[in-house]
């Protein structure tokens, strides 16, 4: 790792706004929050993956991966962030370094030419250049190449120096945000600003989740000025510094960025979630209160309360029709971070029993909330091996598994309904209407007759009375006309 990168990583670990970090001793803090990985028992993504997760949803930017094939080639086109405009972000660009490029040290030159080719062919507002393990190890200076390319071609080339071996996916998300703070945010001024301008950070508009919430903001007259990076245009990142308030959605990863935005540009931020009814209402309330504190009209708060009352009543009435179909179902929830408590409380409201929830990646705050809504910490666990999860499900410890794609087949192979609640999912569950979609998904999955069918014993596994052997055909078979020779069938 270059010294500059090392410094960046160290700063990310030293995040003063992070509660986990504040609770540590000075020595522990220096060690950072990366947990050492166990060879033969590790399964997560790398820092590069995390940076891509955070930045790739910026739709009009060309995302160029400087690497041998696998980093870009095995990962492009595999995330569900939706765009309402440009589709350039879905195009996979990579320098696809060959052995010759690496041995001869052609990496930097190839990168420079690649940026030029992209600018000439696609004319994007910016090119983001991602470094990876191999290009970091052979010492390609992507910052210098980006600087030269920006000057030569007039299109910003932004270095995202977050190689995979720098650490975990989560660290990569953080560093991705940091790169935007250093190189992009504040580089452009908006044409106009209003007192109702906000930033949304840490939402990636998976399956269009942002748009499940946006109608609410539209009705309140709140404008999404800056976005990192749900349905974001490059300009919306470059102009983030002019928003009045920031909302931090995925609470952990971009906390450092939110704090720096507050310090440098005076934009206050709050952590919130659009998963679950009460959380959505809470987020809207906080957003409006903070906007009013920063100069928006005081009537915004009344409008907000009226909206919440109306929407909550509407969604509760809609959910009520599903109650008889999902009540009493026992759910095992295996996901991370803020999703744990906000979804738990929403499901409990529907009479769904949450038999266990994971608290991986969750903050102490998140954990406290889980205990609050679950009543006890008995059903809270950090990690569950696939084998144990399979055994639990097989022993009917739960009726439904809600998790990410990684444990999809643990559920399905145990013949238990599985609902995708992580970033790879194909359905949006945000806001008030998203809660209805989630409950509908539970209903559709758990009440599908397929479960009884696949658990049905095979004919040969059933107790059946001995019916005796079929009588042997003498002489010739009446159908085929062949002579009946029993030795034919012997192996």
């Amino acid at each position: 790792m270059s010294d500059a990168l090392k410094q960046t990583v160290q700063e990310a670990f030293n995040e003063p706004a992070c509660a986990t970090n504040r609770a540590k001793s000075a020595a522990d803090r220096k060690k950072g929050c990366a947990k050492p990985l166990t060879p033969g028992a590790a399964a997560g993504g790398c820092a590069f993956d995390g940076a891509m997760i955070t930045l790739q949803p910026i739709v009009d930017v060309a995302h160029l991966v400087h690497a041998p094939l696998a980093c870009g080639g095995n990962s492009w086109d595999n995330r569900g962030s939706a765009s309402s405009g440009s589709m350039l972000y879905k195009t996979g660009f990579t320098t696809d370094l060959t052995e010759l490029d690496i041995v001869m040290g052609h990496g930097e030159k190839k990168l420079y030419r690649a940026i030029r080719e992209i600018v000439e062919k696609h004319a994007p507002p910016a090119v983001f250049v991602y470094s990876t393990c191999v290009t970091a190890m052979i010492g390609d200076d992507i910052a210098a190449v980006c600087k030269a390319a920006t000057e030569a071609f007039g299109t910003p080339a932004i270095p995202v120096d977050v190689p995979g071996f720098a650490g975990s996916k989560n660290l990569g998300c953080k560093l991705g945000g940091e790169m935007m703070f250093r190189h992009v945010i504040g580089t452009q001024e908006p044409e106009r600003t209003t007192d109702y301008d906000i930033n949304i950070m840490g939402d990636y508009n998976l399956c269009g989740e942002l748009w499940q919430v946006k109608p609410l903001l539209d009705r309140l007259g709140i404008r999404i000025l800056g976005s990192l990076s749900a349905d974001a245009r490059y300009k919306q990142v470059a102009q983030m510094h002019r928003a009045r308030v920031s909302m931090l959605v995925c609470s952990h990863a971009l906390q450092g960025l939110a704090r720096k935005m507050q310090e440098k540009y005076g934009i206050p931020y709050f952590e919130g979630s659009f998963y679950g009814i009460s959380d959505t209402s809470e987020a809207l309330r906080t957003m409006c209160r903070m906007l009013v504190e920063r100069g928006a009209g005081a009537d915004l708060i009344d409008c907000c309360e009226a909206l919440i009352e109306e929407e909550e009543a509407k969604v509760r009435a809609e959910l009520e029709t599903y109650r008889p179909r999902v009540q009493g179902k026992r759910v095992l929830l295996y996901t991370g971070g803020h999703k744990s408590w906000s979804v738990v409380s929403a499901l409990q409201e529907m009479g769904v029993e949450v038999v266990g929830t994971s608290v991986r990646k969750a903050t102490d705050n998140d954990k406290a909330r889980v205990i609050e809504v679950m009543g006890t910490e008995a059903h809270m666990y950090e990690n569950m091996a696939p084998k144990d999860m399979y055994a639990t499900l097989k022993a009917s410890g739960a009726d439904i598994l809600m998790s990410g794609a990684r444990s999809q087949f643990v559920g399905l192979k145990a013949r238990v309904p599985w609902i995708d609640v992580n970033q790879e999912k194909h359905e949006a569950y945000a806001g008030y209407m998203g809660m209805v979609d989630l409950v509908r998904a539970i209903d559709r999955s758990a009440n599908n007759p397929v479960w009884d069918d696949v658990r049905r014993p095979a004919p040969w596994d059933e107790d059946r009375p001995f019916a005796g052997h079929r009588p042997r055909i003498k002489d010739r078979c009446p159908v085929s006309g062949l002579a009946n020779d029993p030795t034919d069938f012997e192996d």
């Binding site: 050492p36 990985l37 166990t38 060879p39 033969g40 028992a41 590790a42 399964a43 997560g44 993504g45 790398c46 993956d49 160029l64 690497a67 041998p68 094939l69 696998a70 980093c71 080639g73 095995n74 990962s75 492009w76 086109d77 595999n78 879905k90 195009t91 996979g92 660009f93 990579t94 320098t95 696809d96 370094l97 052995e99 490029d101 690496i102 990168l111 420079y112 030419r113 690649a114 940026i115 030029r116 080719e117 393990c133 190890m137 052979i138 995979g164 071996f165 720098a166 996916k169 696939p386 084998k387 399979y390 055994a391 794609a405 999809q408 087949f409 643990v410 192979k413 013949r415 790879e424």
Partner: protein, 464 residues
């Protein structure tokens, strides 16, 4: 016959290629109770695993040595040792296949030497069979990684035998399928071989591990595949059949170990190609005739060829795939009068490229496929699922072949080999053409449309 061209450009747009280590991992998954292990950073493994999970819609037990910054500098021997011990404890596999990645190859490590040391000092690993293949991401594509892994398995596990001890009546044969063959295709080839009274040992056998079946328990290893104990026995087989030119190196090595003849069939799609294979099976089996079911399948294929040639004759299509797959499909379609007007391949290593019936073969990506299809006015695209973007941009139908196919179900069931599979493939192509039905309009031929004065004026405003 195709001339290989390399576009002079620095950026690859929409990669076609899948990395070599992933090909190696897939080969290892065709061994019974196996766990593939990537020697690299954990991200390499996570990407590859997600890729395979989405294609096969199965849990894929792919693991990693989890190289970090420090172990990258100091060397990864300890990481390998720890990974082997942990896997042995957690999943208890019979076989672990290691594939290196760009990260560890750029650093340069003597893994085979280190592996010998590790296995010597760790008796607790017991009868665990470990195989290592060098498969850097920066050299070649998926079919190369697969071939290297199969070669490494043979090199490590198949002993050299003395031809004096060969059983002349043995009806056991070896089958080395190339990477592009699906589980259903491997099964179809096995069916052909068995039809002639021969007993194949398939290496690797993804037909029994990645075919998508519901098992009774959670294993943490591959769910089927070539039994580990069968692999040394391959030395005694009567003959080695390899399907796909990329398997020639592995087949030759196996032939040397067992002092047996080797036959490489570049493809098993198309009447001629299948006839060649059936003829070879008849020779080995000593049959002067073929079983009725096989004869019937051939007659059906002939009939299908006659039915489909109306659609395939003169069809101009663009194809992007690994070399072996590209050859198999283009040669079958050439026999049906269709023309590959744009051919894109992934790796320069495979000599079969020169035999592809197309003017040029571009060593490129899906961006080249899209541009090439536009320039040549192709009517149809043939490539993997990521080509859906090219299909949407050009408005052309896409036949999904190869890896990954992550936006459709049943990738493991696609069968385009043998008489039956070729027949299905021809119908698939013909139907893609038929689905683009276009009713003739006067404008199509440059005629002026009929004057509106002749049209009956309907009193209401509804369109009909």
């Amino acid at each position: 016959m195709a001339r290989l061209t390399r576009p002079r450009r620095a950026v690859s747009t929409n990669p076609l290629k899948t990395s070599a280590p992933l090909g190696a991992a897939m080969a290892y998954l065709g061994i019974e109770r196996a766990v593939p292990l990537f020697h690299g950073a954990q991200g390499c493994t996570a990407f590859a695993m997600v890729h395979m999970v989405r294609h096969f819609r199965e849990a894929i037990p792919l693991q990693t040595t989890a190289m970090n910054e420090v172990s990258t500098i100091l060397g990864g021997a300890d990481q390998i040792e720890e990974a082997l011990a942990n896997l042995k404890k957690r999943a208890n596999p019979r076989f672990i296949g290691i594939a290196s990645t760009a990260l560890t190859e750029t650093r340069g490590e003597d893994v085979p030497g280190e592996l010998d040391d590790i296995l010597a000092k760790r008796p607790d690993l017991g009868d665990l069979q470990v195989v290592y293949a060098s498969t850097p991401d920066f050299a070649g594509a998926m079919e190369d990684g697969w071939a290297k892994a199969v070669t490494a398995i043979i090199d490590t596990m198949v002993p050299e035998i003395d031809p004096l001890h060969r059983d002349p009546d043995l009806r056991q044969v070896n089958l080395l399928p190339a990477n592009y063959l699906t589980p259903a295709e491997v099964e179809e080839i096995v069916r052909l071989i068995r039809a002639f009274g021969l007993k194949p040992i398939v290496l690797p056998d993804i037909a029994s591990s990645l075919d998508g079946h519901l098992a009774d328990d959670w294993s943490g290893c591959s769910l089927g595949g070539t039994p580990v104990d069968d692999i040394p026995a391959m030395a005694k087989s009567a003959v080695t059949f390899a399907i796909g030119e990329s398997m020639r190196g592995a087949a030759d090595l196996l032939g040397q170990r067992g002092h047996m003849p080797v036959q490489v069939f570049p493809a098993l799609t198309g009447l001629q190609a299948v006839d060649n294979f059936v003829s070879a099976l008849m020779n080995v089996a000593g049959y002067a005739d073929a079983p009725p079911a096989i004869k019937r399948d051939r007659a059906r294929l002939q009939d299908a060829m006659l039915d489909a040639h109306f659609q395939t004759g003169g069809l101009r299509y663009a194809i992007a795939a690994d070399a072996d797959l590209a050859y198999a499909l283009t040669s079958a379609l050439a026999g049906m009068g269709a023309e590959a007007v744009c051919t894109v391949i992934t790796s320069p290593a495979n000599p079969i490229v020169e035999a592809i019936p197309s003017d040029t073969a571009i060593l490129g990506d899906l961006g080249d496929l899209e541009d090439g299809a536009r320039k040549t006015g192709a009517d149809l695209l043939i490539s993997h699922a990521h080509a859906r973007h090219a299909a949407a941009a050009t408005g052309l139908p896409l036949i999904r072949v190869g890896f990954p196919i992550n936006d459709r179900l049943g990738a493991q069931d696609a069968c385009r080999v043998g008489y039956r599979g070729t027949r299905a493939f021809l119908f698939e192509v013909a139907n893609a053409v038929l689905a683009q039905s276009h009713t003739a309009r006067p404008e199509d031929f440059g005629a002026a449309p009929i004057s509106p004065e002749f049209e009956h004026d309907r009193p209401q405003t509804a369109p009909h």
